[in-house]
């Protein structure tokens, strides 16, 4: 049985084999569910030419936590696929924006629901789908649309990934994951879209059989590696972010 082998002793070991050119999805929406420890380990590991997929590239708030923009600053990223390359408010400046606007990194800007559905499709064996989102906008220019029941829809393709980095609240040795509250967000979708899933876990890993099967959010068949997050300061835990000056 390979179940025991899902437990990995360190974040460094969990990301050691990530090759240059890997396509990696990062869970999380704001702080909850963001795999800060795995991102930090990837910064040290140094793989380059990465494609990074996440809702945002991070860095909009203080204190700054490990984020995709740090991987960009570290010269590790070729392309980002996300729903923000700039902040919602023009007065906020994301660390990533200057690299993108200067042409030092590529970006594919995707509406958030389309990003979620492209990941879901990849994990569901669906190669493409039509959505009403972004019809009539700059994003749809030159792309295939089709009318169903009198309304125009835009063709979008599944987004399979090599690796997914997740953060879960609880796991068992079989790799079954539970998220807590808004930690769930993109994590279950990225797990299913990925060939290799690495999860950082907040609570002690339970033995197989200790988790109620009805309460599993991501089944262990999708999860290859688990790392228990140590207490701070060795492990990274979210803190309440500072309010922005307006």
């Amino acid at each position: 049985m390979g179940q025991e082998s899902k437990l990995v002793a360190s974040f460094a070991e969990a990301v050691a084999d990530i090759p240059d050119g890997a396509v990696i999805a990062f869970g999380g929406f704001a702080a909850p569910g963001t795999p800060y420890n795995l991102i930090k380990a990837l910064l040290a590991q140094g793989a380059r030419n990465l494609t990074c997929i996440a809702n945002t590239t991070g860095g909009a708030h203080q204190p700054r936590m490990p984020d995709i923009a740090m991987l960009v600053e570290n010269g590790q990223v070729r392309k980002v696929i996300c729903s923000f390359t700039a902040a919602t408010r023009p007065t906020d400046v994301l660390p990533f924006t200057k690299f993108y606007e200067a042409g030092e990194v590529e970006a594919e800007l995707v509406p958030q629901g389309t990003l979620a559905e492209r990941l879901r499709a990849a994990g569901a064996g669906i190669p493409a789908f039509y959505t009403p989102t972004a019809v009539g906008t700059e994003l749809a220019e030159g792309r295939e649309t089709r009318v169903f029941n009198g309304r125009e829809y835009l063709l979008e393709y599944a987004l399979p990934v090599d690796y997914a980095f997740l953060r879960a609240h609880r796991a068992d040795a079989a790799g079954n994951l539970q998220y807590r509250l808004s930690q769930r967000n993109f994590n279950p979708l990225m797990a299913m879209a990925a060939r290799t899933v690495i999860a950082e876990v907040e609570e002690e890993i339970l033995p197989a059989g200790a988790m109620d099967p009805d309460q599993v959010h991501t089944p262990g068949i999708f999860v290859q590696r688990l790392v228990r997050i140590p207490p701070a300061p060795e492990g990274i835990w979210p803190v309440r972010r500072q309010e922005r000056a307006r």
């Binding site: 390359t85 700039a86 629901g113 959505t131 009539g136 835990w237």
Partner: protein
């Protein structure tokens, strides 16, 4: 801004929130739209939906009382109201695209009298911030917009055609500005209410399309 006239930001939000009906599922954008949740709408109850899969969130919690596993779409540490539920991102946007959101309230740079609006990309930028705006605009039953009536240079934000890249076309049903309440009506904006101290002539002079009604 000292020369700002008419409604305050909270008053703009209040005016739109008073349109909310009992039982509506409401999605509030980041920034001024968030202020709609402060409005007293009597005994009507609405359910707040956030893009990150939180259905039924409540007020932002003070420091020390927050749960760091729970944020709304603006990343604020909120509470949950009785009856709340959590779903993943694909289900959250399934709720949006399938028309379950009764109203979304968003900020914008421009709104046209044909119901187009622009809120994801500023002039001259290569990228922008879309977030859930395009999905919400395409899927919600109603799209309400809150914005200042003019730019800092005094140029109209209510226009015949958006100059900036649009978020969606033909979807905006109601607009609150510091000058009043307006409805995109095809050839122009239907004037529903004026804020205190604002005359129709003042509003027309600051609007890039005809005022109707």
């Amino acid at each position: 801004m000292s020369d700002r006239m008419g409604w305050s930001r909270q008053q703009m939000a209040d005016r739109l929130a008073r349109e909310f009906q009992d039982g509506w599922i409401v999605n509030l954008g980041v920034g001024i739209p968030t202020l709609c949740s402060n409005t007293d709408i009597g005994d009507r109850q609405v359910i707040y939906h956030a893009e990150n899969g939180v259905i039924g969130y409540g007020p932002v919690l003070p420091e020390g009382q927050e749960d760091l596993h729970l944020v709304n779409a603006g990343g604020q540490n909120v509470s949950l109201n009785p009856g709340a539920a959590i779903v993943h991102h694909a289900d959250s946007f399934a709720i949006i695209r399938s028309g379950r959101i009764d109203v979304t309230v968003m900020g914008a740079y421009e709104v046209s009298c044909t119901g187009d609006f622009a809120n994801w990309k500023v002039a001259g930028a290569k990228g922008g911030g879309i977030g859930g705006a395009m999905d919400l605009a395409a899927g919600a039953k109603r799209v309400f917009i809150i914005l200042e009536h003019t730019t800092r240079k005094g140029e109209p934000r209510l226009v015949r055609r958006c100059a900036l890249p649009v978020t969606a076309r033909g979807v905006v049903t109601l607009v609150a500005t510091n000058y009043g309440l307006f409805e995109p009506a095809g050839e122009g904006f239907r004037l529903r209410e004026l804020a205190p101290g604002i005359t129709r002539d003042m509003a027309q002079a600051a609007t890039g399309a005809p005022l109707i009604g």
